[in-house]
């Protein structure tokens, strides 16, 4: 049990933090009533996924003794290796996608507020029923 804990939880702490952030965002997206809170939850969800990807690309274990170096090609000192540039490139694209989604959804929220005078989902559903 202790071994499992150290090997799977402590040694992979970065992935677990990413999972926690993903879950926080996911919960906020489903459970929050406020539309802007939902969008913040969506952003958290996406950032968690990005953290997962970046952790995947990182190289270098231990306490700063032997480490990775960034992917800009130059003469690097002995014992260092380049980190994985591909997840970084993918996440650059994904960040752009996330900010675009955020902008479109904020546009929708503003229109919804103009239409319904509220941004709480339950109140919107009530007003819809009246209409």
């Amino acid at each position: 049990m202790m071994e499992w804990l150290t090997q799977e939880i402590l040694a992979k702490y970065n992935y677990w933090i990413a999972v926690i952030i993903i879950l926080i965002g996911f919960y906020a997206m489903i459970a929050k009533d406020n539309l802007i809170k939902k969008l913040i939850g969506l952003s958290l969800f996406q950032t968690g996924i990005f953290l997962y990807f970046i952790s995947l690309g990182d190289v270098g274990v231990g306490w700063g003794l032997r480490s990775g170096t960034t992917y800009i090609i130059e003469a690097i000192p002995e014992g260092y290796i380049y980190i994985n540039p591909l997840p970084t490139a993918l996440i650059l694209t994904a960040i752009v996608v996330s900010v675009s989604t955020l902008a479109v959804s904020l546009g929708l929220v503003i229109r919804i507020y103009e239409e319904y005078e509220t941004i709480e989902e339950s109140e919107i559903i009530e007003k819809e029923r009246v209409l």
């Binding site: 992979k12 995947l56 270098g60 490139a89 694209t93 900010v99």
Partner: protein, 175 residues
């Protein structure tokens, strides 16, 4: 408690379960020889007898080519010994503008058998990126050259967002 909160908690528990299920197979954090960074094991093996000498003399063993072709992999064109019991194999570029061959497979002798590994794309980016693209920053090389089509899509996403917000919000001017 509202229904949404309960659904949300249920979903969160489901996802947590999924993550606990997979955690054992997640590659160790920061491992410099993980599949994404170095080598992918292809689960192709041939008997070392005979093949090893051929590899050492720089010839391409027919048994290996057959085994690779059975799984739709390209045949190597050149073999080069790295250390004892490990060989790098290169393949033809296939394009007209590069003369050099490129590193593709790594054969390792394990016991009586020769295992086939394949280099991850990243190895190629890091080794040849500067030479091929004249750009020291490999991420820039990847996003605007190796995977430039993705970036075209990305720019289109921003453009779509811009027009979509105009469609939704703007009530002035010509648009």
């Amino acid at each position: 408690m509202k229904a949404e909160s309960i659904i949300g908690l249920l979903m969160v528990i489901l996802l947590t379960g999924l993550f606990f299920y997979i955690v054992e197979d997640v590659p160790p954090y920061g491992d410099p020889s993980s599949p994404a960074l170095q080598l992918v094991r292809l689960d192709i093996r041939v008997d070392a007898a005979g093949v090893e000498e051929e590899l050492n003399s720089g010839m391409i063993p027919a048994a290996l080519v057959e085994a690779l072709a059975a799984r739709n992999f390209v045949a190597p064109s050149e073999i080069e010994e790295v250390t004892a019991g490990e060989w790098d194999a290169k393949i033809d570029k296939g394009e007209f503008y590069y003369e050099e061959d490129e590193k593709y497979y790594r054969f390792k002798k394990e016991g009586n058998q020769i295992e086939v590994y394949r280099y991850a794309p990243v190895v190629r980016y890091l080794e040849k990126g500067l030479e091929e693209t004249d750009v020291p920053n490999i991420v820039t090389a990847v996003i605007v050259d190796y995977r430039a089509y993705d970036t075209l899509g990305e720019t289109t996403v921003i453009f779509t967002a811009g027009i979509s917000v105009i469609l939704l919000l703007r009530r002035r001017g010509k648009l």
